[in-house]
Amino acid sequence: MEHETIHPAAEHQTHHVTQPKVYYIVYCWLILFMALTIGASYINMGGGLNNLVAMTIAVIKAVLVVMFFMQVKSGTRLTWVWAAIGFIWLIFLFATLGDYMTRNWVHVPGW
């Protein structure tokens, strides 16, 4: 997806300005992916695969919004780092799942 950047006339602003065309294209993709998600939910691929597909599509949509609507792709590296850290840190939080998945591995009396 290409976009042109223009430098606005106002001084001191070296901000990249994403063109409206980019926004409309991304929007079309988002709607398409949404339709795909709904469609995929009606096809039974086995629970695990269905979940994987749904979450993958959701992640792709989120990345599109972050990169283009939120202009992270054309922003500074610091912005990008912060955007990434937020989502990565969720992984630490989801390490809690480890507890739930291992509770029943070996039945130790009283534990």
């Binding site: 409309y24 939120m70 029943n104």
Partner: protein, 258 residues
Amino acid sequence: MSVEVAEEHGHHHDPHLQHQFQDMGQQNESYVVGMWTFLVTEIMFFGALFLAYTIYRGENPDVFLEAHHHLNVLAGGTNTVVLLTSSLTMAMAVYHAQMKNRSKQMMFLGITILFSFCFLGIKTVEWKKKFEDHHVPGPSFQYEIEGTAANKGPVHLSPAVETKAPASTKAVFPKDTVDLEYSAKAQLFFSLYFAMTGLHAFHVIIGILVMGTLFFMLMFKHPSVDYYMPVEMAGLYWHFVDIVWIFLFPLFYLIPSS
């Protein structure tokens, strides 16, 4: 990590330059980084709820699957389209803010606000239906499954309730052997549903207030909105609210049967 110039530009003093900043470039970047840092806190805020959802759905997959049929996919899907479109119009509002086009900014902000109200309206209709079906958690909760001998009647939360001590207090993942009434676990689904969509709706309301304030400031030509940054920051917030819904929608409305 840019190195800023020590002298101040006496001749190019942008009226929007705050006293603590050296130049507009530094100021703009600071605002964007600051807003993103705030959004990181929001990610962790919602993230904890997604964690709770993941755990409970993993433990009670059948209950969640069955209970989610009471949600209206059409309403949810429409709301998704509404929010995605509002994200587009918000991005356009930010573009016109950068282009310093006041009337187009106002137009797109106005449309975004209208879409937001539309979202809330559909949500209200959905919730009202839940209320009528007695699916709101609490003393009035009643859950029936067609064709099975499920529990009828409310589950009380007062301390007097005798909790049937299950054979094992461990929650097992994924097969559930915890001996609890079906309706109690369905109530868990609806608690999560209301907590998460409720928190999301609260954020939508805040978004409306912020966008509304910007709209009126533009209307009355308040000097702060000559500058595009407030609209851009509102835009970042709004896109985040959209992202939360992007995840909420499939998780609640499109649970696959296994």
